[in-house]
Symmetry: C2
Subunit: 204 residues, 2 copies
DNA sequence: ACCTGAACACCGTTCAAGT
DNA sequence: ACCTGAACACCGTTCAAGT
């Protein structure tokens, strides 16, 4: 029963989900796939290459053209898809962040966003490019934090609140522990509003 | 000549700058400080704890209250300070991203931002908290990408451009390789515009 | 209090050799 | 073509023992 490239990727994905990015080692992956660790290097030239392939696969679906509709809704769809993709596996955002632009699938997703901003929203190609980049930075930043191990946050926040003794810290803590879906929506809305300003300025 | 906690932190910072986050090992740090690796565990309970202390120090200055002025300018100052802090050491953004909210200094920086948004811009405490969180996600996302090793980006982008054969990919590539300062400014402006919408909606 | 020495249980990667 | 076996040069962490 020989191993194919896709089997390795699937095994890596499962192991990532089980043990996290720091727990994903070539030796454990070998064990899962019933293969010596060294054998994996026939399929991938390095662990880094394997991780990049994994990251590429993760964001593969994002680039599909969203259904017709208002430009802001279509862009929101892309942003949601990217977040969903990153959330698809443990530490997905960290994984993708470290191999971001090098991935063809990421480039394609960026292009899809640009199309919408140019054709539907009327931005210049340059503006569109800068905008999709900024938006992706927000999505990735948010999702990294969302996926970060929350272990003892509550404790540390409570301590900070006590030490500083401030209502603002309490409100900040409440926001941090709030529903990530809603927090993402809020930040996305903020960025979209920023884009709207540009769009309106362009066609008054 | 005994080692103090601060000496360890300073050594770790230097080593981080020299070898990057993946190259920062307890054994190399021990060598730099003329100490056995195990000896470091008297000063820090784990490597993780050391990294967290390093991250905390890095963003320590961000929380200082910015000079008086329009609220958007003061918020921009905070965002620039955070980026500068992250750029202060190699892989600083990655380092901070993984230990983000647990750091008291980060909490303090968030509080400073909230003060401005509440007192100067007239947002509710809740809105202010959600806003500083979203903004910090953008800053961190941007800076992680900015600090990512660029090794063979140009090659891969050129290949993607060739393969897809699209002007949009060319424009996207140009944007990605553009001056990070200007790209950061653009994205920050986008988010600030989004906040302005909220502010105007709040006090029409 | 602060560190050494030495060990334990791991890593990624290479590469001759097997099938 | 695909993998084994074994090695190389590393890791983080613990802990008795030294000073």
């Amino acid at each position: 029963m020989q191993l194919r490239r896709d089997d390795v990727l699937r095994g890596a994905r499962d192991l990532l989900d089980a043990d996290g990015l720091d727990g994903l080692t070539m030796r454990k992956l070998g064990a899962v796939l019933k293969v010596q660790a060294g054998g994996l290097y026939w399929h991938f030239s390095s662990k880094q290459a394997l991780l990049e392939a994994l990251a590429g696969d993760l964001v593969a679906g994002v680039a599909e053209t969203p259904p017709a509709g208002p430009w802001d809704q279509r862009i929101a769809t892309l942003a949601h898809r990217l977040r969903r993709a990153l959330l698809g596996v443990r530490d997905g955002a960290r994984l993708v962040a470290e191999t971001f632009v090098t991935q063809p699938t990421t480039v394609l997703a960026g292009r899809t966003g640009m199309r919408i901003l140019i054709d539907d929203a009327g931005l210049s190609p340059e503006q569109a490019a800068w905008t999709v980049i900024a938006l992706s930075h927000y999505v990735i930043g948010h999702t990294i934090e969302e996926q970060a191990p929350r272990l003892d946050w509550a404790d540390k926040l409570a301590k900070a609140e006590q030490r500083i003794g401030d209502d603002l810290i309490h409100d900040l803590g409440a926001a941090i522990t709030a529903d990530p879906d809603r927090r993402f929506e809020f930040g996305l809305g903020l960025v979209l509003d920023g884009i709207r300003r540009r769009v309106e300025a362009g066609q008054p």
